[in-house]
Symmetry: D3
Subunit: 319 residues, 6 copies
């Protein structure tokens, strides 16, 4: 029985070794990555029965993606495309310490998923599921993915499958105004909204404290739950008219990419289990802090590890 | 003073470690590769002053390409494109022993070079050069590259720069009939044609022995020189109504990709120096055999090494 | 719907880099390996819906095994053991060219699987399956695995699931006489016997040509099918009183481990599809030749590749 | 002439690359590690003539251990066991930043050393030595190693070789009560006790400040010297009724494993040289801080480096 | 048109992996490094048209150096030496965290450059250039390089090419008194002096605050500009009787080697562009902070990155 | 008790990965290598108690050499030199398949060993030994090493320690005439001469068949034993007026460097054990064939492996 269905693009992530630059490296570490598969994988490792829907070229590259997700325990509902006309998106990721920062170069235009239609996907999987999740990246990819996103959200609504949506605004995909318009069209179909406060301010034009923003979003769009993330400063949630504040856990960062997806995976894992928002929020923050110690997009983290962080005893050598 | 100008696409080549498969690997070796830059680099290392013309995204990925070519001593005449709209092509290369063979997956559609026009390029470089080289890949990339190829060949013709063209038929880019039609349109602008016998047969519809094919091509299209390559079986050249036969040198293959480009680089290096076709042919075959011992697309080979092979004394430890 | 169920031990395989020795290396390549999971994985990649049954410690090491198998598309029916008392077997593999040969050191004593009982396993999976496969390694591991092997074979027999058994004699696990006695006890439950001719001679005390040995085994034990493998010299099969001879395909060996399992995977894949023994035998030999070009225990090979070898056109660069 | 003899188990340590997890990695760094060989190696590199006694399988894996120790300058007194019945213990080590911490999985049951008896070992080496060292891990491995530990300690006592013992409590080997009982039986044979304060509290049931605990242990068991370590907070020693306090030196940790062994190696190196406890304690703390900058179990550190840290001038580039 | 000419030695730098020690490693990362080529490369990447003058053995090792510099966009004016009598210098670099520090072992005696004379070099390049740069390492290498350094500085002076000189005192090459004497002989030929305050104190025997030292040096030797660097504490400049203070930017250090050269490259890049000393100083400090995040001697840093640090917005993920 | 003492230079060997070239690589595999330590290590691994005499800089680089040799079980008698004035020789090794061949660049001038005098070495070790070995490389390094070689050979002669000498002519160290003169001066001190037939012809000016050359050398110089090696064609020995012919064993070459040293190690191992020349010759040839399958200069080969090759059963997987 499926707990969670996610839908979105997964790319090959190409990363040079630490200290190397994209313009000089001769080696990449390669690994699939994408917000919605990151959430599916992270949730699966935390005990959630997860399905990921997408479209891939029927080639070793598409198989590379499926293998990784299956390894994390995710079932895949893939529309296989002719590899002669459909490519796999890639993204180049260069880690750098302060003050250099991390640099990402996307090469995702015209990837197979930009052509995915609902009839190519096992949409029925959504019907039996507890939750459906996608993010603001997916509708930005193409008019077709926007239409498909809407159709899948409607399918969830009809099936009483609760929906979650992470704003995930990407300035390289669209401008804030276009994005905001699309978001607003989709919001009526969303139960739980997750968003960085920064995006709520810059893209959704909200002002005030996180608490004020959460209230204003919930009021305007009727969300059941709003979760605003603030990076190192933690997260603020609004649910059933109650506000929850959660600080971030201390962490030594090895790879920051995927932190937000780990947060969502942890949050949904606990909500699907029936836990309250405050419990889920703490679990989400702990999962996010653990993710940063692991290389790659995916939070390869087990429930007992998250629980140990929550119980504040995760930093000893056990032997 | 420039000896050789080449024009064409260079991609990032992504290769898993030996024994790994594209569908399972977590690492790529990365290196730029492309027929025309391979020829420019190989010729440069053999002492030819070479320039490569192309178009690249102005990004660390485009810089990665330029760095590699400069390292080989090639000067680059690059039209820099906005990296937000123009991508760098990539290709995935999986080596495999018999009976698996080598597998190549191209991801080159819509790369920056497909939009290159003559006015973006330092075409004047062709004017002072001895030779201009491009291959049958370039006109296959887009109508724009076809037009630009024709314009550059015409510029060479006007400048009395001799032209060389490697058929390099790629079935993943176009079908034989379309290719043949384009080839025939460009042939009047070509002095030296290099082609695999196989492509002469399958694409140009030639029949008979290599000698017969060379004669028929020269007769039909007025080439100054025709060189037909036969892989392990060597090469056949026709020039000034004389036939030259060159067997292949024995070689232990580490990386077969780029063998044909090494052959052309060796051939042009000697012709530019003023050597006869038979001398150039032997040098070309030796360069090709050496290339196969080196990883990567480029023949990182020095003149004294080619000469040692020609002199049949290249296989001892020198110490 | 399940096509194939296999049952057996999977270990972590630890391999130094090429040219290094176990007594000097500082690095291992690590990958799960075991005859029955190799067959399940190989068959899965060739299109067979496969399930693997076994017992593992509930630890990151046990998860490492499950991840790999899932990546190959295999479903896993695992009895999870307390990692404080149950270990994962390992094996150290050193490749060496002639005359050094390959060296294997097993460290498999007391692994979790030696305690596996039928009630811990989802035996029902066998009931709906086309075929059940295990090898002569499994009953050698412990009296418990011997008993469980027998029970699973009986379950298959009762369910009309056809059974296949690879002799896989391991001199480091038991002596020939003990092995032969156990084999003979299990043979009445076996439909298809696969065995190296060498083991048939040395362990089962058979004499004569492969054809004579196949006949004598079939006569004595009532096998539906007998397949005798002869390494580089190919294989001989007996089925329905007919003899089939299959030469080995030429291959450049990167990693010889798992060749026999690839052969079995290919054979079963075609038999499950309903093909005749001669077709399956040729497919098996092609899969085995391809396996040797790939690193690791598992034949990461796709159906179109096997078909290309059978059609004798697998050794060109496709581009 | 031998300064130091140690006795204990050495395993192969298997470590994934930084940022990788045991459940996903395809590579291990491999290196021998064990408390008593770590002390022997660390002391040897600090100028102490050291011998290590143990039992190993006579195989490339056992040779791997001996090679590493010899490389560090240690002489080995090894009882070689039949590799068909005796295995080498291994341990899997996963480093992780805060809050993940370091995870260790031991696979040491039934290793060759668990069967070692005094008559297999060159016990005479203890007779001429200055010091004999073993740790609380060794008697926990098996009744046989407990008996052998006792015999070797008695041999040291008879030979006027001073003995040192690090409590090294391992909860995965035994429970606190059993451990404490064994410790108390061995304590009369010990001159210098080293113990983490934490273990003194939890296993030996001591209460109070480190100073109070040191006094109570010395009083109860008649130790010549007691050293209590407190991680980042330094160490406290009691000797000849005097208390010495030593803070920890600042350090950037690359690999924390083996810090305690480096401390003991540094302490014994100076005590063997005839230095006082306070000098030895400072040297020990400096060696421990340096060890954390080096990968692997062993403190690959030279005397001049320790002296530079003591002299507070170790952090400049020297060129 | 050339902006900057530098002259000095470049060696192969050999570095073990992080956490490994020179006495145990089996692998080196290899990359050319040398103060004057580091400055040429850094400046080139920041948009300066740079030429590097030196002498190298005509061998693959000499070519290795040229390739790297060309990759960074530097043109090379190399005197090629017979590799049978002339070697390439190397240096071994071991990174270590606190308190271990970084260790450098030079193996540069008798390298080809120690024999370089002005007539072997394209000295004319200096004539058309904006600036000429060398450092205090070059005259320390041999009497020949001292004489050549002087000749090149004189050539710059005559050509109205402004000169810059980094003190770069190396205690492994000469003692402070000999160095100071040479420096003082060369100072009349220098326009811009860069020096660590520490060296100004210890080698040039200056006392007082950085400001006092800058004034005293300018007064005594008539420098147009004096820049004194103070590591983490920033830099102080004196120009046209005005003092400029620049703090260091915060940085996470991956590789500290080459920080000073990055500073000089940044400073000269802006001065060549015509910017004021204060602008150049800030740019220099930002380039230095970025360099520390990149592996290798060379500051592989682009202008927009330096500008982003100056604008204090360089530490976000851009996507 | 010492069986074998060797004397000579050991360098750091720097090797790029397979398929890479010295002019492009960014990585070296590093490992000590030198003819006389190769022989000492190879013999030690074959059961011979071996000592190696030499001089090294007292630095991590010198320690790197000692560690490796100790790991192979060799005791080292090292004269430690001040690392500020004495360097460690290095050599760059590039493997290449046919027709490229292997390339070696020596950087050994002025290494510490060129200054070694007998009084710095534990010459007494030779007195108790069975055999003393050095090669024609050592006297070529400097007048000092020539004098020391002579002194050590004389010490052996006086002590009735039998001497062996491998011609090992290196054209990069001296010319044939100078070499031959030195050889002839040393020959009266040599019992066993090993030489490639090629060197016997080109350097010692011998003509005729190997048998004729062996006889003429023995007659002229009074050798007890002469062994002439012929690469793939095997070896010819003359001893006590009898001729022995030994073909080479078939081998798949991974690393050809050190083959001759492995041959000598095998030969001496058996002669020291008291075996006849024919037995030793076969063992030597088997050891040489095994060496070629192992990376590095040293024959990491155990006696049972050599014996298996001699018994022609070494090429199976044992499991
Ligand atoms: Ca490389
Ligand atoms: Ca990541
Ligand atoms: Ca990996
Ligand atoms: Ca290639
Ligand atoms: Ca290592
Ligand atoms: Ca495998
Ligand atoms: Ca791998
Ligand atoms: Ca360790
Ligand atoms: Ca190694
Ligand atoms: Ca560097
Ligand atoms: Ca690199
Ligand atoms: Ca070697
Ligand atoms: Ni490269
Ligand atoms: Ni992964
Ligand atoms: Ni990363
Ligand atoms: Ni991976
Ligand atoms: Ni993987
Ligand atoms: Ni390759
Ligand atoms: Ni490459
Ligand atoms: Ni090592
Ligand atoms: Ni090591
Ligand atoms: Ni393998
Ligand atoms: Ni392998
Ligand atoms: Ni993998
Ligand atoms: Ni570590
Ligand atoms: Ni090593
Ligand atoms: Ni570094
Ligand atoms: Ni590189
Ligand atoms: Ni590089
Ligand atoms: Ni090698």
């Amino acid at each position: 029985m499926t707990d969670l269905v996610t839908f979105g693009e997964t790319m090959l992530r190409l990363t040079p070794p630490a200290g190397d630059r994209l313009e000089t490296t001769d080696t990449y570490d390669v690994q699939p990555g994408g917000a919605e598969s990151n959430v599916a994988c992270g949730a699966s490792l935390l005990g959630v029965d997860s399905v990921w829907l997408s479209k891939l070229p029927k080639s070793p590259l598409g198989q590379r993606v499926v293998r990784e997700l299956r390894g994390h325990g995710v079932r895949t509902g893939v529309a296989w495309a002719d590899p002669d006309d459909h490519r796999l998106g890639t993204y180049y990721l260069e880690h750098g310490g302060t003050p250099r920062g991390t640099n990402v170069i996307y090469d995702r235009a015209d990837s197979a998923v930009t052509t995915v239609t609902p009839d190519e996907l096992p949409v029925a999987a959504i019907k039996g599921a507890e939750r459906f999740y996608t993010s603001g990246i997916t509708p930005a990819l193409s008019p077709t993915t926007l239409a498909t996103t809407r159709t899948l959200l409607e399918a969830a609504r009809e099936a009483d499958t609760r929906t979650a949506f992470d704003l995930n605004y990407r300035s390289k995909l669209w401008d804030p105004d276009t994005a905001a318009e699309t978001y607003r069209d989709l919001f009526p179909l969303i139960d739980t909204l997750v968003a960085p406060v920064r995006d709520a301010r810059n893209v959704l034009d909200r002002e005030g404290t996180p608490i004020e923003i959460a209230h204003s979003l919930a009021t305007d769009h009727g969300f059941d739950t709003v979760v605003l993330t603030r990076g190192d400063s933690g997260a603020t949630a609004l649910h059933a008219d109650e506000i929850y504040e959660q600080p971030a856990f201390e962490t030594e960062t090895f790879d920051a990419i995927g932190t937000g997806d780990a947060f969502v995976a942890g949050f949904l894992a606990r909500r699907i289990r029936g836990d309250d928002v405050d419990t889920a929020l703490e679990y989400a923050a702990a999962a996010a802090s653990l993710k940063r110690t692991v290389g790659g997009d995916v939070a390869v983290i087990r429930p007992e590890e998250v629980e140990a962080v929550v119980a504040e005893s995760g930093d000893e050598i056990s032997r």
